[in-house]
Every structure is written in structure tokens, then in C-alpha cells.
Amino acid sequence: MHELSIIQGVVELCEQHSGGRPVLAVTLQIGALSGVVPDALEFCFEAVTKGSLLEGARLEIERIEATGYCSDCGIVSRIDTYFDPCPSCGALSLTLRTGEEMRVKDLEVE
């Protein structure tokens, strides 16, 4: 359940960036292979933000798909797991390009 620490991190970042103003909405970018479950983030968001500048804020989560680069055929493709073979040539050991993101993209203040 490290989603709890993740949301605590989100609250801290938002409070640093909001200039003391109440936050109306926050947008996160979460990679498909980040190990973070969006439902679990939403589940603890309300509880963790209570009493903070984010109380009552809207949580938006943008999923970022995982992509991997194949050094054999030079193609970047969408993947679902760390161990997917290259969909183009079947080679293993793709290098991850995207999919592990855990970012606060932006926030909206009053």
C-alpha cells in the first residue's frame, strides 16, 4: 500500500507549488509499469488530503503507456510487461522508454 506515501508526496508537492492557495484540481501522470494502482490512489486521496490545501480537490490521473526500444530492430513499441518480447522481431530484453512515470503534471488553484 505505498499509494499512501505516493499521495503524501503529491500533497507536499502541491502545497509547495500552490503558493498557499487552495488547490481545485491536480493531474498526475502514472506509468503503466510504475507499480502504482490508480484506483488505490483515488481511494486514499480523500483521506490524505483532508485538512490540507488539497481538501476537496479533483484528482485526475493520466495513464502513460509502457514502451520499449528494441536494439535488434530499432523499433519502439508498446508493451504490457517488463518481459514482453519485441512485437516486431521477437527479441527479448527491450529497453524501457516510458511506463515507470509517477509525476505531478499540473495543478489548478483558486
Binding site: 500500500m1 508526496g9 502541491c14
Partner: protein, 236 residues
């Protein structure tokens, strides 16, 4: 007052970058949620570099034998390599007591409800260890194959421990952890004659998730395979 980060008691990094302001009350942040942890991890890493400490973060499910591996390793390396241990568990100092019995300096972190160690906790534990007199630091993370994967503690390597009683497909079931690790200890190999565990299949799965992973097969109970692990530690 904490000397690592200057925080009054706990959690505080003072950071006053208010980002780029947009009309309509939108503020661009574009910051990693774990940025704070990563800054503490960099502080730890700098300390390790300055003091010449090789730090390893041991991760696994509960009961894989991390503490037993450490007990044997610490006893066998005693007088050859100067070691210390940071122990992470939700509750109890049982593991710290086991490590202390080997004569090695140890600090226990209890995370309470927390499911992983973070770099800030480890930084505080380091303040209480004789950093200037160490070659090797083992950080034994909370037994959990999920959450500790995301948290950099400043270590040189994440070392994942897998015991043969857990089943050979753990690397595929918990790929994030095995992907984050670049060393794997396959423990309890003395039990192999009694169970159905396909070693080659397991190693192949680990390599699929983490290409180039360094693997040691060992039994902390009998000592089988430990020499190769020690050799790797000595070479660092």
C-alpha cells in the same frame, strides 16, 4: 534537529520553487512524486561515496531468509570486511537482536504501518552508525515484493532474495521488483531435493525481467554457494 537534512524532527525539505504560472489558475509542476525521496537517496549516496561504503538494499518477500543470509555473511566476513546493518521491519527489533549477536553495528527501523523503507529513514539510521569505519552496509528492507521496488535508498545495488520454497515464477509475478534488482540470491537450495522447483526455469524468468542480473545460488543454512557471494562482495 536532524543533521542529515536539517529538519526539526521529521519530514521537511524546504523547497520554494513555485513553478511556472499559467492564466486560469493552472500551475505546471512536472515533478516526480518521489523527488523528495530521491533527493534524500542522493544525500545517502554522496555519504557512501565519501566514506567509501558499498551499500546494498536487500529486498524479498517475508521469510525468504534475508536475516539468516546476513547472519552467516557477517560471521564469515568478520575481521575481513567492516560491515554494518540497517534493519527494516514494521514491528519488533527481533532481527536487529539477531544481527547484534554477530557483533556487527546495527540499527533497527520500525516503519509501523509503512510497507517499505524510504531514503529519509535510512539517512537517520546512518547518523547512528560509525560511517567512517565501514566498508559494507546492508540495508534489509521490509519483507515485501511490491512497495520497496520504487524507493531508492542510495544503494549501489538492489539485491533480491528468492527462496526455493516460494515458487519459481516469482520474477514474473513481481516483475517490478526483479526488474529493479540487478543481483539475485536464490536461497534455501538445500531444500531442492524435497520440493518441485525448476531452478533453470526460475533463472530464465529472472533474466527475462532483468537482463544481465547477477545470480548466486546458495543456502545460508548449509553454507553451500556462499563463497561465490563473498567473492562478489570482496571484489566491490
Amino acid at each position: 534537529m536532524c543533521t542529515t537534512c536539517g529538519c526539526p524532527s521529521e519530514e521537511h525539505i524546504h523547497h520554494h520553487d513555485h513553478g511556472e504560472h499559467f492564466p486560469g489558475g493552472k500551475i505546471s509542476v512536472e515533478t516526480d512524486i518521489l523527488a523528495k525521496n530521491n533527493r534524500y537517496a542522493e544525500q545517502n549516496r554522496t555519504l557512501f561515496r565519501e566514506k567509501g561504503i558499498f551499500a546494498l538494499n536487500l529486498v524479498s518477500s517475508p521469510g525468504s531468509g534475508k536475516t539468516t543470509i546476513l547472519e552467516r555473511t557477517l560471521r564469515d566476513l568478520s575481521g575481513k570486511i567492516r560491515c554494518a546493518v540497517v534493519e527494516g521491519d514494521q514491528q519488533t527489533d527481533n532481527d536487529a537482536l539477531r544481527i547484534a549477536a554477530t557483533g556487527v553495528p546495527v540499527r533497527q527501523i520500525n516503519t509501523g504501518a509503512g510497507c517499505h523503507l524510504d531514503a529519509h529513514m535510512v539517512g537517520h539510521a546512518l547518523e547512528e552508525l560509525p560511517a567512517g569505519e565501514l566498508d559494507l552496509l546492508f540495508i534489509e528492507n521490509v519483507g515485501n515484493l511490491v512497495c520497496p521496488a520504487a524507493f531508492d535508498l542510495g544503494e549501489a545495488h538492489k539485491v533480491v532474495v528468492l527462496s526455493v520454497t516460494e515458487g519459481e515464477d516469482k520474477p514474473l509475478k513481481y516483475p517490478q521488483m526483479f526488474h529493479a534488482a540487478d543481483v539475485m540470491l536464490l536461497n534455501k537450495t538445500d531444500l531442492l531435493p524435497h520440493i518441485d522447483f525448476d531452478v533453470e526455469k526460475c533463472l530464465e524468468m529472472a533474466r527475462r525481467v532483468s537482463p544481465g542480473i547477477t545470480i548466486f545460488r546458495l543456502s545460508a543454512k548449509t553454507g553451500e554457494g556462499m563463497a561465490e557471494w563473498y567473492e562478489w562482495l570482496r571484489e566491490r
